[in-house]
Amino acid sequence: MSTAIQLAGHAFELLPERAVYWRARRSLLLADVHLGKDQVFRRSGMAVPAGVLGTELARISRLVARTGAERLIVLGDWVHAPPDPNEDWPSEISDWRRAHRNLAMDLVLGNHDRALRDWLEAWSIKSHRSALDVDGLRLVHEWGDAAGRPGMSGHLHPGAVVKSGHERLRLPAFLLAGQHLVLPAFGRFTGLMDQTPFPTEQCWVIAGQRVLPAPLPGRSIRA
């Protein structure tokens, strides 16, 4: 069950899969996938199981199939760190791209997307240095780069704490202020920040298959 919002006169759906769907443009937007993060950990001697990458890509595939999206726009941090030469996860991404040949892909480069030029070509991803402007919307990685214009960003990995009595849950969140929307991190091997500098005016949390309006993060309201 998704939630509908409007930005600069366009209609968007906030999806419980931690993504946004722009039906009119058949475009899927997501941020902070952090592919290869598990590999960075393994490289350093921390035993993160294999399979994280495959699962994340499969999540995108399912989402593309369900929505019928023709274009995928990633708002930064597609990968966690540049691949080491002997690692094979980048070719797993290549395989996945071949399986989705008709899906156009745009990446607004995030702070983690460094030294990727050759790989971006291999993955046929069109990259954008600091912003991608589409139909009056400014799509960026860090919200500061939107310069007050309507748009979307990632980077913050927003989360919100929901508490009532003894119970306390921390859930991924969408944040809205004015005409700017911050997306939750799509990658599930990423953390959540419940305190962000973003001047949030509205907040939705993801609970299972639903996107629900929630009290503003950082302001602790107790039942």
């Binding site: 993060k37 598990d38 590999q39 960075v40 950990f41 393994r42 490289r43 350093s44 001697g45 921390m46 035993a47 993160v48 199981p49 294999a50 399979g51 994280v52 699962t55 966690h80 760190a81 080491d84 002997n86 690692e87 094979d88 996860w89 929901v162 508490k163 009532s164 009595g165 003894h166 119970e167 849950l169 859930l171 599930r188 091997f189 990423t190 953390g191 949390v205 609970a207 299972g208 298959q209 639903r210 629900l212 309006p213 929630a214 009290p215 309201i221 107790r222 039942a223």
Partner: protein, 821 residues
């Protein structure tokens, strides 16, 4: 007569039989355990062996190791050992190496190793991680483990067991001695220390030491006792006691209580500069200042927590005051031992109850002390996280061969029964990350070459050394003055709840939070305002079974026709009220009360099984009652009993209760009743850290490690999804049941209830036993809703306007007590 006895005689000190025994046993090459109360001469009993030994043969580099569980102890211990050596005219010194030791000093120690070293289990593990450890530590003649009872039963103890097994493998002739307070299971304690294959000598010291326990009765006793109080209303009585003694050690059970008592005492005594604070979170220099003040006789009163439970061997104090129940007999004896420190003297302890029922707890403790019934400490077995860490340590420390390492593990109590599958899994975990069939690509930590397991990557080596140990340093912020000067550490959870400008009390000062940056909280001295006091997690020990049993006996005594025991005279009105409106609990019965109020229908049970087992029991009972008919309960527990509240009364009778309290199907039901997955996820925090699945970062360089930061919760989710059979997950699930709800105690409790009479009472008001649970209510909830429904309900409640505060006159009938808002 040996040199030490001659020395003692010259000084006019008595030599105790147990000391002589210990020296002889050492001279014969034996290992063993010396158990005696604090300050009875244990230190010299253990150190005499090495001293005499070194008179015969001068020690070389690293001949003796003295291991102490607390850094705070190490300074004094080293000084003590040195004094003894100097008295004998020995020309070598005991050095110190703990987490507090500077890196320059460590380098010096590494370069020219001293003959003897005082260190901690963690520092020993670190020493084992250096490539030349076999050469350096293989020459050890003896290792002495101080305060072994503190380590036994914890993962730190397991880590030390592994370290000792390593040292035994390096030198089979190694002499190993432990010092322990008296426990219910001293023989087992010795066997765990020495390893299962060795014989040892058990030496008991000065067991007949007398302990005098007094209770400071409050001027007025409430009939409706409330837990969670600070006991500060007893300040006048405590002051009187302080004025009657030259020096007093005042123990509290929590660090926040210590802060409050310290403030309170300082503000009323005419000698505030002679009042000191000592607890584990305070900066080392301030801890040392307190210890020095005691030694020099400048301290009139030291407010302390368990950080001083151990043998900081400072000069005896005149009296010990215990605020709140000690919750266990062993702890009480240990604390009492800090006064009348001289062998043969009487230990005096003044107990200050913080609520009325603690008077009964104290009386119960006194009863068990007289009988010399003391709790046992159960050693842990099979913790794979600690084993994984140790294997990486050994791979770093010169590498290991699997067969030799396997037999080293077998030489410990903790892994004596480790099966082939688990051993295989451990090796796979450190080399491949996971099981062989689904190797983790690109993983590297330990590498096997030519049958030897080693770590070759320098960065991995550095990260591992940074993470050695089993104590979670998770989420602690350094507290510093803006103008410089460190005060200590506080849990992040507390500090992040404060806003800049707010006041709090820490290290005995009123502080104002300025800002938090890079894991450091900057503060200034505060001026006014209502301060909050940090609450440190943990530290709330459940009532021990021994104490609980004695409490039930006392209730039974009060219930008989015999005159009320003198210690309980003060409680007569409370007991009378309890008996009139309900009944008294006892060893042969389970008291169950039902009461209705505007909160709903209350069901109280009083099994006296301690807080942790009660948490499990409450969840189990709620789940079984709701299985018959769907409903929601809110649950509260304390050390005495549990409360379930529901909207509609539950029609309970004996048959229903017996069924709901049956020990059959306990494990399956308890797993179903708890949010076991969520609890295990939480438990996984420490396991992931110990096993090296998460990295906490380089000290002082937090930012550089950011790329490697992932929460243990995230790691738990990833493993559950991609490697669900990971044995560390299994360990988390097992640990959670034992550590968080004392499953074995719960099992015994249910078995006991089967034998008991059930006394079911309908009450028209809250009884003195029920009141404290009720006042503490709403700790947990049990419902069978799914995740989404749960979040929706929580959001609905959050969005609802707050209810107006309750009127003050709604206390339980007949009691002039205000209800908690």
């Amino acid at each position: 007569m040996n040199a030490i006895e001659t020395l003692f005689r010259r000084r006019g000190w008595p030599v105790f039989e147990f000391q002589r025994q210990a020296w002889q046993a050492y001279a014969h090459g034996h290992s063993g355990l010396i158990h005696a109360p604090t300050g009875s001469g244990k230190t010299l009993a253990a150190w005499g062996g090495p001293l005499l030994d070194s008179l015969d043969a001068a020690p070389g580099a690293l001949s003796y190791l003295w291991i102490t569980p607390l850094r705070a102890l190490a300074v004094d211990t080293a000084a003590n050992l040195n004094r003894a050596g100097a008295d004998l005219g020995l020309d070598w010194e005991v050095a110190l190496r703990t987490g507090d030791t500077s890196s320059a000093q460590r380098a010096r120690l590494q370069k020219s190793p001293p003959p003897a070293l005082v260190t901690t289990p963690e520092s020993l593990a670190l020493m084992l991680s250096y490539a030349d450890s076999a050469r350096r530590l293989g020459r050890l003649r003896a290792v002495i483990v101080d305060e072994w009872h503190e380590l036994l039963g914890s993962k730190r103890g397991v880590l030390l067991e592994l370290g000792l097994a390593r040292l035994r493998a390096l030198n089979p002739e190694l002499k190993l001695w432990g010092l322990s307070a008296t426990l219910g299971n001293v023989e087992q304690a010795m066997q765990v220390l020495l390893g299962p294959r060795r014989e040892g000598t058990l030496i008991a010291g000065d067991l007949e030491r007398r302990i005098k326990i007094d209770t400071l009765l409050p001027a007025e006793i409430e009939r409706f006792p409330q837990a969670g109080r600070t006991g500060l209303s007893q300040l006048p009585g405590v002051l009187k006691a302080l004025n009657q003694a030259q020096s007093t050690l005042l123990f509290t059970n929590t660090r926040s209580q210590a802060e409050l008592w310290f403030q309170a005492i300082r503000s009323v005594v005419p000698w505030p500069e002679a009042v000191f604070l000592h607890h584990g979170s305070i900066d080392r220099s301030r801890r040392l200042a307190a210890e020095t003040a005691v030694r020099e006789g400048r301290a009139r009163c030291i407010v302390a927590t368990s950080s001083l439970d151990l043998g900081v061997d400072f000069s005896p104090v005149d009296q010990v005051i215990q605020v709140g129940s000690p919750k266990g007999v062993a702890r009480l004896i240990q604390r009492a031992g800090r006064s009348g420190h001289r062998p043969g003297e009487i230990s005096r302890l003044l107990c200050v109850p913080t609520h009325a029922l603690e008077i009964l707890e104290i009386a119960a403790a006194r009863r068990q002390v007289e009988r010399r019934h003391i709790e046992a400490r159960t050693p842990l077995v099979g913790s794979l996280d600690v084993a994984a860490q140790h294997l990486v340590t050994c791979a770093l420390g010169g590498g290991f061969e699997p067969e030799a390492m396997r037999s080293e593990l077998r030489d410990t109590h903790a892994y004596g029964q480790l099966d082939e599958a688990r051993w295989r899994w451990l090796l796979d975990f450190i080399t491949r990350g996971g099981p062989a069939l689904q190797a983790y690509p690109g993983f590297r930590r330990v590498i096997e070459r030519d049958g030897v397991y080693r770590v070759s990557d320098r960065r991995i080596a550095a990260m591992h050394r940074m993470s050695v140990g089993t104590i979670s340093a998770d989420g602690h912020l350094q507290v510093k003055f803006v103008k410089g000067g460190s005060l200590g550490q506080i849990e992040e959870r507390f500090l992040t709840r404060l806003k800049p400008g707010e006041h709090f009390i820490f290290a005995g000062r009123l502080l104002r939070l300025e800002r938090i940056r890079d894991m450091i909280a900057y503060v200034r001295l505060g001026k006014s305002g209502r301060p909050s006091v940090p609450r440190w997690a943990g530290g709330r020990l459940p009532l021990s079974t021994l104490l609980a049993d004695a409490m039930l006996e006392l209730f039974a005594a009060a219930d008989s026709d015999a005159p009320l025991p003198a210690a309980l005279q003060a409680l007569a009105p409370l007991l009378e009220q309890q008996a009139r409106h309900s009944a008294l609990p006892g060893p042969d019965r389970l008291l169950v009360e039902q009461t209705e109020s505007r909160d709903g229908a209350h069901l109280f049970l009083f099994p006296f099984a301690g807080r942790l087992a009660h948490e499990g029991l409450a969840a189990l009972l709620a789940w079984r009652l709701a299985r018959d008919r769907p409903r929601s309960f809110s649950m509260t527990v304390n050390d005495y009993g549990i409360e379930l509240v529901s909207d509609e009364p539950v029609a309970v009778d004996e048959t229903l209760l017996r069924r709901a309290l049956s020990p059959r199907g306990l494990e399956a039901d308890i797993l179903a009743s708890l949010n076991a997955a969520e609890m295990a996820r939480h438990r996984f925090r420490d396991i992931a850290r110990v096993a090296g699945l998460v990295f906490q970062g380089y000290p002082g360089r937090q930012k550089r490690a950011r790329q490697l930061q992932a929460s243990s919760g995230l790691m738990f989710d990833m493993l559950s999804e991609h490697d669900p059979d990971n044995l560390l997950l299994v360990q988390a699930r097992t640990e959670v049941l034992e550590a968080e709800m004392e499953l074995s105690r719960l099992r015994r409790t249910l078995a006991h209830i089967e034998e008991c009479r059930i006394v079911l009472r309908q009450c028209d008001r809250l009884t003195p036993l029920a009141f404290p649970i009720w006042a503490d209510r709403l700790r947990g909830q049990l419902s069978t809703e799914d995740f989404q429904a749960r979040v929706e309900r929580m959001l609905a409640r959050m969005n609802r306007p707050r209810r107006p505060p309750r009127a003050a006159d709604e206390g339980p009938a007949g009691a002039g007590v205000r209800r908690l808002a």
